[in-house]
């Protein structure tokens, strides 16, 4: 049961890490929390339970604070994965927004040309993508949010 608490905390700490770092930090933090929990439970003369785990996690600081202290160690494959994930998210948002705009335009103007609309969408998509790439190069941290 208390494994859920540990997993939730550790997952939050490691969510932005590269795969190798994530795996190692997960194993190490898991071991630390369990070691500390054993020691605290022994000190209090109680079995390890959720309250003990919560106390240990509280002592370690918030997941965000802890994550921020780790050095960034992303491999190229992690950067490619992050880039593809970002592209997929961006494309999905774009499709949703373009569809809503298309439906509204169709309702207002009745007879809009689908080809012209798709062409405009394509151009806007490419321009937005280029702007995102430029932004990512100039302000890389913004993409982490």
């Amino acid at each position: 049961m208390h494994n859920d608490l540990i997993n939730k905390y550790v997952k939050k700490v490691t969510k932005n890490m590269g795969s190798k770092q994530r795996e190692e930090v997960t194993r190490e933090l898991n071991a630390h929390i369990l070691d500390s929990a054993d020691a605290l439970a022994e000190e209090k003369n109680v079995p390890v339970d959720d309250n003990i785990i919560r106390e240990i996690i509280l002592r370690m600081g918030t997941a965000d604070e802890l994550a921020a202290m780790y050095p960034e160690e992303k491999a190229n494959s992690d950067n490619i994965k992050d880039g593809l994930r970002y592209l997929a998210k961006f494309t999905l948002y774009f499709i949703v927004v373009a569809s809503v705009i298309g439906i509204v335009l169709q309702l207002v103007f009745q007879n809009i040309s689908i080809n012209v609309f798709l062409l405009v969408c394509g151009v806007v998509y490419l321009v937005s993508l280029v702007l995102q790439v430029i932004r990512a190069k100039l302000f890389p941290r913004l993409l982490d949010r």
């Binding site: 190490e28 600081g61 802890l66 780790y70």
Partner: protein, 119 residues
């Protein structure tokens, strides 16, 4: 007032912790063991700060590590490298110089009464 003191103390402790950790690792130790040793030495450690620090020191090649999976749970053991030993010597010298400087500055403080009260 209390907040200012606590902030200063946390910053100081974090700075010293790097040196303290590297001083402990002539023999292999894992994270929880290091925290216990530091606490026993009187350096109270915020538990969460140790692991990112170990990772940084390892990234700078001052420490090296290996996983031991034989026990009840896997443990990552750290030990100092040759480069770490060299850097530790420089850090210790810097630290000692800083202590001497602070002692010298302390001797110049005019209001000895306030200083004694603070101690």
């Amino acid at each position: 007032m209390k907040q200012v003191f606590e902030k200063f103390e946390i910053e100081m402790r974090r700075g010293v912790m790097q040196l303290a950790v590297i001083c402990l690792l002539d023999n292999e130790k894992y994270g929880y063991e290091i925290i216990k040793n530091l606490n026993e030495s009187g350096l109270k450690v915020e538990e969460g700060t140790l692991y990112p620090l170990l990772r940084r020191l390892e990234g700078d090649e001052l420490l090296t590590s290996r996983w031991e999976t034989g026990g009840p749970r896997p443990r990552k053991y750290y030990v100092i490298t040759d480069l770490g030993i060299e850097i530790r010597m420089s850090w210790l010298n810097t630290f000692k110089t800083l202590i001497d400087t602070v002692k010298q500055l302390e001797s110049n403080i005019q209001d000895k009464g306030a200083l004694n009260n603070a101690q």
